[in-house]
């Protein structure tokens, strides 16, 4: 576990040593802030629903962008060879990378809590439970996308390719929910269960069901597993 945190710290340092982290955090805050405040005073509702609706859309492109360089860059620079010849397990390396991306996303999410303070100062009857579950859902969704991004980054040494693959996979899981009308009823339930939006909306409504948690954690586990396998397969080529 110490190796995981060493890798994670180095990666976070890399984020903050380059403009990457700042660009991400600033633009993430501006986009979310714009859409949130745009309509906030029109509805006169004491919740963050607008924010919780906009963040998943922003995630679609932001998370693949944050995670595209995680492993692809190491493949490209050749530093992968240094990491692979250090006494460290592949899973520790991948987990560290995933946690670094997740931490940056969480940081972006925490920054949006500024809107919560706006809400508290002008709103009445703030439903803290719904806000908590909304954030929990977004955090889990962010983690899932980060795992997908980590996997996309492991299959190539080109960051642009990693970004495109990442956006594609993320989009598939995001869109599944919207295709339900077109699929036979017999598999509709299954497709719906795979859709990330379905689980997010459950949690956001304030229903924290173990099925939803299991879904998010298995998605994260699955894509991290794929990333580990991808890296290990390279040594056999």
């Amino acid at each position: 576990m110490r190796n995981v945190s060493t890798i994670c710290k180095r990666e976070l340092g890399g984020f903050f040593n380059s403009p990457m982290a700042y660009i991400f955090l600033v633009i993430f805050a501006i986009v979310n802030g714009y859409f949130f405040t745009n309509t906030f005073f029109l509805f006169g509702q004491s919740d963050l629903r607008v924010l919780f609706d906009i963040v998943p859309l922003v995630y679609l492109f932001f998370i693949p962008a944050v995670s595209m360089g995680l492993i692809a860059r190491e493949n490209n620079l050749g530093t992968m060879e240094i990491m692979s010849t250090m006494p460290i397990n592949t899973y520790e390396f991948v987990l560290g990378k995933f946690l670094a991306a997740s931490s940056l996303i969480l940081l972006g999410l925490v920054a949006t809590s500024i809107h919560l303070f706006t809400l508290i100062s002008v709103g009445t009857n703030v439903d803290y439970g719904a806000i908590f579950s909304g954030y929990l859902g977004l955090a889990l969704m962010g983690g899932t996308y980060a795992a997908i991004g980590t996997y996309a980054s492991s299959v190539t040494e080109n960051q642009v390719v990693a970004f495109i693959i990442g956006v594609f996979i993320v989009l598939v899981f995001f869109m599944l929910d919207k295709t339900l009308v077109f699929v036979p009823r017999s598999i509709a339930g299954f497709i719906q269960f795979l859709a990330v939006d379905y689980h997010l909306s459950n949690i956001s409504r304030g229903v924290i069901d173990s099925r939803n948690l299991v879904y998010f954690f298995s998605m994260i586990g699955f894509f991290i597993f794929l990333a580990i396998r991808t890296l290990e397969m390279k040594r056999w080529k």
């Binding site: 110490r2 190796n3 060493t6 180095r10 340092g13 890399g14 040593n17 380059s18 620079l77 050749g78 530093t79 992968m80 060879e81 240094i82 692979s84 010849t85 250090m86 006494p87 460290i88 397990n89 040594r235 056999w236 080529k237």
Partner: protein, 314 residues
Amino acid sequence: MIKVSDLSKNYGSVEAVKSISFDLLDGEIIGFLGANGAGKTTTLKMMTGYLIPTEGSVKVNDLDIIDDIHEIQKQIGYLPELNPLYTEMRVYEYLEFLATIRDISGRDFKDALARVVEQCGLRGVVHKTISDCSKGYKQRIGLAAAMIHDPKILILDEPVTGLDPNQIVEIRELIKSLGKEKLVFMSSHILQEIEATVDRIIIINKGQIVANGTSSELMSSSKGNVLLHMDVKGATKDSIEHVQAKLPSVRFVSFEETDGLQNIQFEYGKDKDPREDLFKYAVKNKWKILKMNPHTTNLEDIFRNLTMEDNADA
């Protein structure tokens, strides 16, 4: 000690390394020589655990590269080809990062850092960002990174590529001093560099070992012909070609004439030197000798012979 036995690696249908075997002893500096694409880097990547061999085994002090990979990696310092570095980090940050993974922290790290800074001459750049360092310094940072845990074995893939002559001499001296107590295995395609630094040379060509020994061993086992370059004036083509008939130990190789100056090349066996006879012959035929320059076979020729013959076979 490293024992490589019947090691092979296939990339798809391409056989990059074909069943090679050799032993490396502690305290030895061994040069691993071969043309580009001969299989050097692939072999090193298998020895460090980056690639899994298709067949065969690598044993380091009786540990196996597959079963005890982390134990072996703790004992090895590796400088990969092209010296990859996290260029956005500062030099000490990078070394600290590697040291942390290798379980060196606090007081121990300070000592290790002081040691590699001293050995690799990094004093001026420790706090610099790696991308701001010159190529020579980057190479030394790579070397320092490979040595931060004071490994018993150093595996260096083309450690002096791209350095200027002064830097090459410095790195060479450093490797020599390290070789007093460590096993150093370094690859190169530049002969002079290897010849000046190592105790023993292993030559690989087309994935196979074609020579293994000290440089003097390799020289004495070679065919050992001497090529004689002569610049003369006033020689006729007939008299030049006639040499071989008069002096049987000399073989005519080539002849070229520019501005009345004849440039001739002869070849003769290392054991019998015909230069005196050749001189007498020249005087008799009214040649004016301007230059006579014997070129003994050196490692470079051996290398070329070994790697060319095989090329002709293929």
